[in-house]
């Protein structure tokens, strides 16, 4: 059941469309049930990040979510915002180590988590994540991979 390419206009309601599609396709591709909540959350974080970037920088462009399931289940979320809006210090593989701690953001931020928080959630949640500039134009790729079945873990 190879590939699905979903494009959504940059609006919060469609983050739900992306979560729905990613989770449904993951389930049918044979991803373990125990990973589905993780996929739902990670895809939601990646798309929420993309929607905020687009609302600011590219409101009329669509966000792309690519789902592939040959051997592994791979979700790639591509925005068309400027690259590097998160500090390069927010390496998601470092989790929350580089972000302002709770005391700081309680003092500083209101109603939204610091920039980079969504990527840090993804980094803490998903074992196999890659984040890089798309290269062939503006935008960042967030690529997350999960095993299919158990044999491929």
């Amino acid at each position: 059941m190879p590939t699905v390419r979903l494009q959504i206009s940059a609006t919060p309601a469609h983050v739900r469309t992306a979560r729905l599609v990613a989770t449904a396709v993951a389930r049918r591709s044979g991803v373990a049930d125990s990973a589905l909540d993780e996929i739902r959350l990670a895809v939601g974080e990646a798309c929420s990040r993309a929607v905020s970037l687009h609302e600011e920088f590219a409101p009329h462009e669509m966000i792309t979510v690519l789902l592939e399931d040959e051997g592994k289940f791979v979700v790639t979320v591509r925005d068309l915002g400027p690259v590097g809006t998160e500090s390069r210090h927010t390496d998601p593989l470092e989790g929350f180590a580089d972000l302002p701690g709770p005391d700081q953001f309680l003092a500083t931020y209101s109603d939204r988590m610091p920039t980079g928080f969504g990527l840090a959630v993804i980094g803490s949640l998903v074992d196999d994540v890659e984040i890089r500039a798309a290269g062939d134009g503006p935008g960042t790729l967030v690529r997350m991979t999960w095993p299919i079945g158990t044999a491929l873990t």
């Binding site: 919060p12 309601a13 983050v15 739900r16 979560r19 909540d37 739902r40 959350l41 939601g44 974080e45 929420s48 929607v51 905020s52 989790g95 929350f96 701690g101 709770p102 953001f105 309680l106 931020y109 209101s110 109603d111 939204r112 988590m113 928080f117 969504g118 840090a120 959630v121 803490s124 949640l125």
Partner: protein, 113 residues
């Protein structure tokens, strides 16, 4: 699934029972509710997350915002949550250290600040 909110008081505590998904689409509704409560003088809030099916970092942001607002009035914001899949995001983000998380509304209401 959409967000449902229902509010009641017990003594000086206000309990907000949340159902459905708290995400970038619905979080504004929860934020408004918390702002309204604080404007109307409710500074001790219990947010019951037992009916929540999904919570992401946007939802966390709104809860943190609520906490900031009640703290400005020396108030409290306590959470009720026993669902593992919801607790997980508090745990990985370190927010278990920021929010008191209780196993029941009764326990949260009884807790002293």
């Amino acid at each position: 699934m959409d967000l449902s909110l229902s509010t009641r008081t017990e003594g000086d505590r206000t309990i907000v029972a949340v159902g459905g998904e708290i995400d970038v689409y619905t979080a504004p509704k929860l934020r408004e509710q918390l702002i309204d409560l604080v404007s109307n003088g409710s500074y001790h809030i219990v947010v019951d997350l037992e009916g929540v099916e999904f919570l992401d970092s946007t939802g966390l942001g709104v809860l943190v915002g609520g906490l900031k607002r009640v703290r400005a009035h020396d108030g409290s914001l306590r959470l009720v949550c026993t669902q593992e899949r919801i607790l997980k995001i508090f745990r990985i983000t370190g927010l278990t250290k920021v929010f008191p998380i209780h196993a029941s509304v009764d326990e949260a209401v009884a807790a002293s600040d």
